[in-house]
């Protein structure tokens, strides 16, 4: 039973075995139940008091005796840079509502500051919770685990985490690590964030979309809720911007424990940064003293390729020049966690005793820039690029593009070399380029994102005046314009910008509005079960695995699931096969054989369960067209149109290319598609911009479906009926032929319209 302590006088005795005897009455055990928190006065504690409480012998939160592991960890914790400034921190925390805390990576701020707060804010006594947001799911999970260990509690009890589709918290939870997106979703149902006494926004310097929105919200909430404390934590020293934004909030900076890093530039700009990076790594290995190397590249493919090449070259160096062993580890977001963990393995030993020392070389994306701390790195190779999300409302493309990093990023990267001892950073660009070409700060995500989802969330949060919402870096007006327009076409907002019934419903789902609308309207097409699966599949990483060494084999396996009408249906086939008895007998084996990602499929399964719960709560009917019905797949395709009608392309009269409807962008089908070239109209999930324009995950649709929506008999719930009414004219507005410029697409639509009209007349005449 999860019971919160009713009052501070009543300590909890969770592991009582002899239920009859109240151990409190036992004088020999009295010290165990002494409540240390009793002496504590909220917002009036000191570092010394906290130290005493931490020294035990009982757990400050649970009252349980502390383990030996706890004391071991405690020692290392007290060596962290933040520890020395606990009093200073508490002082500022006591006298201000909002504070800015700056601590470089490795200062211990993410794990320690929330604990400092716990010992002072005493949420377990006041029945509140302390929240600490993280930009990344993995960070939220791993930090929560670490802090649970540090506090000697079970993860999910007093310390827990909450990320999209996964909530590891309980009634007892007083410290909750969560993604910033998750806190934002929570706020939608609790705009004053009443369950929290303190909210810590960690890694604020990363300026994720959700963090920026949260800052805007918290600024307003802080006025309404004077008791709410807010800490903005940043790893970089540009914190003045945060201070200024929060009405000159006080700032506390804790120096990181770093060694000097010598920076080298190239004399001339590089012709090929990857080639230059490989050369530099091998030179370091050949000529520099012991120490590990960290190389920053942009993406999975580039990293794997570089890892292969460096390994080959290093082997040759070992053979021919008696170099020490070099072990190469790739590191990127989509790498399975167990392989990500391998980067912490120690460097390989020399080939023979007394031989030249071995070293490891980690080739990473910018996840190694701030979020991950790897000890032992002495050399950093920085080509100056990373893959960054870009969005432009004019062509409605949201894509990852390789772009030059910012000065701040470059500094951060260099800093990674000085964690253990003085290091070196090799920048593969000239000093002049560093000064002139690199922007000072990376553009915050809000400037690089489609805001449709965010606008829906803000509307749900009750923010009506989006134009004057106080953001730290407001996006271009056109970005908001496009988001409002999209939501209007999706019937989530009415013409005045007010949330519709459908919009309110869509906001309940932690999904993109298009996906949410598709899911909500799927009962109308008798395929909500299938669309639910598909939505889950579209919300997780790529389910198909295509290793460089077995591309052909992987493609053959994928072809087995292929549906001629497109990738969505193919994914659905995979999912159904995965849920079949044959696959479920040994899912790991089955996925391996079929070149599928077990992790992705399992998380899709999990997402499906979560979404299903929301559907049931919102009384959306789950139904399927019988598989034997020849309309089985057609219904699914039509349901896809109900959400993605704004992502449609028509084949050009010549060649293989397509043109996107409305934006008139020339695109090609992504090579991964199973769809043949003969589909006149296709619906796509993504518009990817690389050196070519691609549309990815495509399914063939018929133009009639774009123009006319079926009128369904109403045999679902009353609620759905209302929806249908509001959905009825969506496509009509978007595909209003008069709004199309003269051209191929317009005339094709006109022909289709004529055909529909004729058909109707024939029916009418009969």
């Amino acid at each position: 039973m999860d019971r919160r302590p009713d009052a501070e006088e009543k300590p909890r005795a969770k592991r009582v075995k002899t239920s009859n005897v109240d151990p409190k009455d036992n004088p020999y055990l009295a010290h165990r139940y002494e409540e240390p928190a009793k002496k504590f006065q909220r917002y009036a504690t000191t570092a010394a008091m906290a130290k005493e409480a931490e020294d035990g012998p009982n757990n400050f939160l649970t009252g349980q005796p502390l383990s030996s592991q706890y004391f071991r960890i405690l020692e290392t914790r007290r060596n962290l840079p933040v520890h020395a400034q606990r009093d200073e921190f508490l002082d500022i925390f006591h006298r201000s509502q909002i504070m800015v805390f700056v601590g470089e990576t490795g200062s211990g701020k993410t794990t320690q500051i929330p604990q400092f707060v716990l010992f002072d804010d005493l949420p377990h006594i006041h029945r509140k919770t302390v929240a600490c947001t993280q930009p990344r799911r993995v960070a939220a999970m791993s930090v929560a685990q670490r802090v649970a260990d540090e506090m000697d509690v079970k993860l999910g009890d007093e310390v827990g985490y909450s990320i999209r589709f996964e909530d590891v918290t309980s009634q007892k939870t007083v410290l909750k690590y969560m993604t910033d997106g998750m806190l934002l979703r929570e706020a939608m149902n609790d705009p004053d964030m009443n369950r929290y006494s303190c909210i810590i926004l960690d890694e604020a310097h990363e300026r994720t979309l959700a963090t920026d929105i949260l800052m805007g919200l918290l600024k307003e909430v802080a006025v309404r809720r004077r008791d709410l404390k807010i800490i903005i934590m940043s790893a970089t020293l540009d914190a003045q911007k945060f201070q200024k934004y929060f009405n000159d909030a006080p700032l506390l900076a804790v120096p990181g424990r770093t060694h000097p890093v010598e920076i080298f530039y190239t004399p001339e700009p590089e012709r090929d940064y990857v080639e230059a990076a490989l050369r530099t790594v091998l030179q370091i290995h050949a000529a520099e003293p012991e120490g590990d190397i960290l190389l920053f590249l942009t993406g999975e493919e580039e990293i794997e390729d570089a890892a292969r090449k460096i390994s080959l070259e290093a082997d040759e160096m070992v053979r021919e020049a008696d170099a020490g062993p070099l072990k190469v580890y790739p590191l990127y977001g989509t790498l399975p966690p167990n392989q990500q963990q391998r980067i912490f393995e120690p460097a390989p030993p020399p080939h023979r005793p007394g031989g030249r020392p071995g070293r490891k070389c980690i080739i990473a994306t910018n996840i190694a820039e701030t979020s991950l701390t790897i000890d032992g790195i002495v050399y950093v190779v920085d080509p100056g690029f990373s893959k960054q999300k870009v969005y432009n409302p004019r062509i409605r493309v949201e894509s990852l593009l390789v772009s030059a990093i910012s000065k701040a990023s470059a500094q951060q990267r260099a800093g990674r070399a000085g964690r253990t001892r003085p290091g070196k950073c090799f920048r593969l660009y000239t000093e002049a380029a560093f000064k002139k070409e690199l922007i000072p700060q990376t553009y915050p995500e809000i400037l690089r994102s489609n805001l449709a989802s965010t606008v829906l969330e803000l509307k749900k949060l009750g923010i009506d005046d989006l134009v004057h919402f106080d953001l730290m870096d407001p996006p271009a007006p056109e970005t908001l314009m496009r988001a409002l327009e999209e939501l209007n076409f999706l019937a989530c907002l009415d013409d005045d910008g007010n949330l519709t019934h459908l919009g309110r419903l869509a906001s309940e789902f932690p999904l993109d509005p298009a996906l949410a609308v598709m899911l909500i309207s799927s009962p109308e097409f008798f395929c909500s079960n299938e669309i639910l699966s598909l939505t889950a599949l579209l919300s997780v990483p790529q389910i198909f695995v295509r290793p460089a060494t077995a591309r052909k084999r992987a493609d053959d396996m994928k072809a087995r699931f292929a549906h001629p009408d497109g990738d969505h249906l193919t994914m659905l086939n995979v999912y159904h096969a995965f849920k079949g008895p044959q696959a479920q007998a040994n899912p790991k084996q089955w996925c391996h054989e079929h070149y599928l990602s077990l992790r992705a499929l399992q998380s899709a399964d999990n997402v499906r369960i979560q979404l299903k719960r929301i559907m049931e709560r919102e009384e959306l009917v789950l139904l399927s067209t019988p598989f034997e019905d020849k309309k089985y797949y057609e219904n699914i395709r039509r349901a896809l149109v109900s959400g993605f009608f704004m992502q449609v392309a028509k084949k050009n009269q010549t060649g293989k290319s397509y043109t996107t409807v409305k934006d008139n962008q020339e695109v090609l089908l992504h090579p991964s598609t199973v769809l043949g070239q003969d589909s006149e109209w296709v619906l796509y999930n993504e518009f990817v911009l690389t050196t070519k324009n691609y549309i990815r995950t495509v399914t063939a649709v018929r133009p009639e479906w774009l123009l006319v929506r079926p009128i369904q008999r109403s045999h679902f719930s009353r609620r759905s009926d209302m929806l249908i009414a509001s959905l009825q004219d969506i496509a009509d507005t978007y595909y209003d032929i008069n709004t199309f410029p003269k051209g191929d697409i317009r005339s094709a639509l006109e022909r289709t319209m004529e055909k529909i009209r004729r058909k109707k007349q024939m029916k009418g005449g009969r």
């Binding site: 911007k241 934004y245 190239t266 001339e268 700009p269 590089e270 090929d272 940064y273 230059a276 080509p383 100056g384 870009v390 432009n392 409302p393 004019r394 062509i395 493309v397 593009l401 390789v402 772009s403 593969l428 660009y429 000239t430 380029a433 002139k436 070409e437 690199l438 553009y443 400037l447 690089r448 134009v467 004057h468 919402f469 953001l471 730290m472 870096d473 407001p474 271009a476 007006p477 056109e478 908001l480 314009m481 988001a483 409002l484 327009e485 209007n488 076409f489 907002l493 013409d495 005045d496 910008g497 009269q653 010549t654 060649g655 290319s657 008139n664 962008q665 020339e666 050196t691 070519k692």
Partner: protein, 316 residues
């Protein structure tokens, strides 16, 4: 006024009619075919990419306007066109979305601008040079034209000199006729020994003319031989052919040797300015034959009565 209107009307109508009539059936068929070809041709990757990029750029440079539904919704929230969003706590927000730049190669940071800088420098340098030369341009063109004209005159004077020299030689009974390929072919077996290096004996003033003619002839013959058979290639060495055969086939290369011979005297003469060469020729003709190149007249005696002077200007 009525007439004017009529004229105007008729002009507009008849014009296209005439055009249509002009196109014959074949022409139309060809035109149609060509149009279809252009339309039906699968575009190259580069073309596609260029088109793609062009469409992207076009769309990226066009901002969303009042026709956008979102604009009207924002207007209702108090948005004014041209303004930024937000409250301006941290300065004025942006009014333009971030641009999208697609990186197409693996060039390092700063490479593009370095290239651009170099290119700009070159262009600037070029511009500077062009500016400096702009004044000289007319002068240069004029000079070049002059040069070409003088060369023509040299050629003419050479021809005259050749003719007069030949005539003079014949008159002396001492044939000065230069060896020509035609002679060679006509009398293959009767080659006089003086013909081994005949051009050396020709007056350097017009030796170039003969030499040029011989070179042309040689080329013509090589082409001719090539036409005959592969074995006639001057470089082709047929072991079954004896010297006579070779000579009979015009394959012995004597002439080539002759033509290819170095001739420092001639080179030296040719290195002179065209005007100087012309001057030399003109005075040669005057002195030897009392011929004025400008009067185109051979005077009977050295006084050359009636000739206004030595130069062309004198004859204007």
């Amino acid at each position: 006024m009525d007439g004017d209107a009529d004229d105007y009307m008729s002009m507009v109508i008849t014009d296209p009619v005439e055009k249509r009539e002009k196109e014959t059936y074949t022409q139309r068929r060809i035109r149609k075919q060509r149009e279809a070809e252009i339309k039906g041709r699968t575009k190259s990757k580069a073309e596609l990419r260029a088109e793609e990029a062009a469409a992207r750029e076009a769309a990226l440079s066009k901002s969303l306007d009042a026709s956008n539904k979102g604009f009207r919704m924002m207007k209702k929230m108090g948005f004014q066109e041209g303004n930024a969003l937000g409250k301006g706590t941290n300065g004025i927000g942006r009014t333009e979305p971030l641009n999208i730049v697609v990186k197409e190669d693996r060039g390092g940071v700063g490479l593009d601008s370095e290239k651009k800088r170099k290119f700009r420098e070159e262009v600037e340098l070029e511009a500077k040079r062009a500016k400096a030369e702009e004044g000289d341009y007319r002068e240069r063109v004029r000079k070049e034209r002059e040069e070409r004209r003088t060369e023509g005159l040299v050629l003419g004077a050479q021809r005259v000199a050749e003719k007069l020299d030949t005539e003079a030689g014949e008159a002396e009974g001492h044939s000065h006729t230069p060896t020509t390929a035609v002679d060679d072919l006509a009398r293959p077996s009767a080659r006089p020994p003086r013909k081994v290096r005949p051009t050396r004996q020709i007056n350097v003033l017009w030796r170039g003319l003969v030499r040029h003619r011989e070179e042309m002839e040689r080329e013509r013959r090589i082409r001719y031989d090539l036409h005959q058979s592969l074995s006639r290639l001057p470089t082709y060495d047929d072991p079954t052919e004896d010297d006579d055969d070779k000579r009979a086939l015009g394959n012995d290369g004597a002439l080539e040797e002759d033509v290819e011979e170095e001739d420092p005297e001639l080179d030296e003469f040719n290195a002179l300015e065209a005007a100087e060469r012309l001057g030399a020729l003109v005075s040669y003709l005057r002195e030897k034959y009392h011929y004025c190149f400008w009067c185109k007249y051979r005077y009977p005696d050295g006084s050359m009565d009636g000739c206004p002077g030595v130069t062309e200007e004198d004859h204007d």
